[in-house]
């Protein structure tokens, strides 16, 4: 009964929000809308009254001085923090003889480098674990992080984000024949794996005893979400919670595991940069606008994500680029 009430309340709370974004994304399926409804219980507006993904700087604004972009131009290379373990996002195909990274995030990094330096090849990729994304930016180890990074209110206190470039949400992954049905009661007594300092872990911690049973064991935390798949395959955990986009990547690597239930949050990926690099944020947002407008985004999606995300001929809620709402 309480669950139904919460759902109803969530629906009411979310109605204006879904209406606003629904106007832009005409292809969003009814399943997508339902998951929207579910997420409202978790995702809230930041203290300034705005959604976290709607707080980036407009590409057209600014004073005209571009110290950070100039520094990159002077160096001649863009240093980007990426993941090397996310299948079809940022990964090393073991059979690719030249050992270059590939994926949806990697394509975007090349595009950003191309727009700043005139050559998409002038990127130095640095692999960073999930837990070090913010530190790497703060310590100037990288110019930006393009690494399936969710825009959250909390992170906005530490780094600046570009406009959202991908829409996803949290999802549960388990063995195909498991009794787990989704982010719900079926997780009782089960061991759930998540990545260290990921939004998935934050959700698990917040929902334990509320959205999910208190008996759920969430102590297994790994440096990288892919390590969760290893643990799932070795039988050390019963389920994995991660972004739907990454969960789909994991499921694509093992036919015996499957996504369980729909997305239970609504999240947006953004390019993270240093808080003071306002000129770079505007530059990246300009690239994103062009990238989406000229079909580059859609092509990259088709190459990397369509095979794992659009199941059974149905387009996923993520198949359309999210609309930018600048501050």
């Amino acid at each position: 009964m309480a669950v139904v009430c919460a759902l109803a309340l969530a629906f009411v709370l979310l109605l204006p929000r879904t209406g606003a974004s629904g106007a832009g994304s005409t292809t969003s399926s009814s399943g997508g809308r339902l998951t929207h409804a579910l997420q409202a219980a978790v995702e809230k507006k930041c203290t300034n009254g705005r959604y976290p993904q709607d707080q980036s700087l407009s590409p057209s604004g600014g004073s005209g001085s571009t110290p950070n972009v100039d520094a990159i131009k002077k160096r001649g290379r863009l240093v980007v923090g990426v993941d090397t373990n996310s299948y079809r996002w940022g990964y090393l195909d073991p059979n690719n003889a030249d050992g270059e990274l590939e994926g949806f995030d990697i394509d975007l990094a090349h595009r950003i480098a191309g727009d700043i330096l005139g050559d998409p090849g002038k990127v130095t990729f640095k692999a960073i674990p999930t837990s070090r994304r913010i530190d790497a930016i703060k310590n100037n180890e990288v110019d930006m992080v393009v690494r399936t990074m969710t825009i959250t209110c909390e992170r906005l206190g530490d780094v600046a984000f570009s406009a959202p470039y991908f829409k996803t949400g949290q999802q549960v992954l388990a063995l195909r024949n498991s009794t787990i049905t989704g982010y719900d009661k079926s997780l009782a007594g089960k061991r759930v794996c998540s990545a260290e300092s990921s939004t998935a872990y934050d959700n698990l911690k917040a929902d334990k005893g509320h959205g999910i049973p208190a008996s759920t064991d969430i102590t297994t935390v790994v440096p990288n979400q892919l390590d969760c798949l290893v643990k799932l395959q070795l039988g050390e955990v019963d389920a994995v919670v991660t972004d739907g986009a990454l969960a789909a990547s994991q499921a694509a690597q093992d036919p015996t595991v499957a996504l369980k239930g729909g997305l239970f949050t609504d999240e947006y990926y953004g390019v993270a940069m240093k808080k003071t690099s306002t000129d770079l944020v505007r530059q990246v947002n300009r690239t994103l606008e062009d990238y989406i407008k000229d079909g580059g985004w859609a092509e990259s999606y088709r190459t990397w994500l369509h095979p794992t995300m659009d199941q059974g001929g149905k387009k996923s809620a993520s198949a359309t680029p999210p609309e930018a709402h600048y501050k």
Partner: protein, 484 residues
Amino acid sequence: MTHPPKSSAAPPGSSVPTVPAVPPQPGPPAPPTQPGPAAVPEAGPRRRTAFAEGVDQLRAAATTEPGRLRIIGALLALLVVAFGAVAAWQMTDRASAADDVLNSSQPLSSAAADIYSSLADANTQAASGYLAGPQEKPAMRKQYQKDIDNAAAKLVTAAANSKAGSESAKTIADLNKLLPTYKGLVETARANNRLGYPVGGAYLRAANETMQQEMLPKAERLYERENQRLNADYADAKAFPWAAAGLGVVALAALVWAQRRNFLRTNRVLNHGLVTASAVSVVVLLWITVGHTVARVGLNDSYDHGVRSLNVLHDARIASLTARSDENLALIRRGADTTKVGDEQKDAYAVGYDTQIADLAAKLDQAGSLADDSAGKKPVTDANGFMKAWKDRHGVAQKWSDGGDYQKARDKVIGVGADPTSVCFENVDAALVKALDHEQAEFKDAATGGRDALTGLPYGAAILAVLGAAGAVLGIGRRLSEYR
């Protein structure tokens, strides 16, 4: 707890007194009170202990010359036999410790070092294979398999030589359990790599963690424990047999005194029996001293020129293997693992490589100064040269990698590009293996020489002591016969 009556300890009328002529001592042999209940009626009429009677008899005997001679003869024989027995016992201990050094503890310490380096090398080969991907050479795969086989074989040897229930046995059992787990992770990584799935990389990472955090520390502990055992065996074998030597000197002194007494009483210079006993004692004493000294020199030599060199070379090999592993992992992980150096975050594996190479250079210097002949120096000098070339080439690869030229750096490391670092590593390793073989042979020579110096000593000492005791008894007996 009550003491049973000790009346049987020295039966009255015992013809061979074994106690020197000293006043009776209070003590357990003659409990003044508390005789056992059974002894009461028997002891009642006499009220004297058997011990006191023995002492009285001895005192009576000591007043006559034949009695004194009997006592002296018995004491001399006892001293010489005791000398021989202690010598045989102490030299058996030392000979078996020396044999353990040669045939048990050193080979085991070497086996433990081999287990460590085989495991470290297998892990390095697995990382290299992953980095090379489809360009993995069959030799890498073969070397990996060889390392795993070698580690498994050496674990069997180590298990056979460790005491059941000991710490070493437990460590070996743990390693035996972890080895197939590790191999399973590596094979799963390989299978996923073939399919093009990055989860293979995650499996490799899990394998690497199992190796670095569980297996290698255990192998290191095993090595340390076997080394302690080796050092203990060395100490046992090298300890001078003071008890035997001391008893020998006392026996000799007693023999000299007896002969002098004989000379003063009878004016006869030589008593054949006593002279034989003295000569035999001198021979045993000399044999012990010289034999053990020669053995000690050999053992010291085997330690200084064998074990010390072997330890340093093993350390050098491990440094080289770790450096190679770090070199590969730096390119696989692409900066995913960082470490703080001063205020700066640096790539953990790049820093690890620099540390290991510096360690390798230091260990090679040390090995060079420990090597005592040209055959031992040559491979160390070679390894040094290869190490320098490796460092130079690595510097180039590192510069490319830092500059974003990942592919060129990778080619140089996996051995596809020109002047690759892989060749340098292989050369360093081959030279170190050669140096290890040489020092192992040196050790074996010196330790065999040391151990052989003790051959026959225990038996010789025992036989000669019996001879000496017989000589003493016969010598005294000859004097005694003059009173009949």
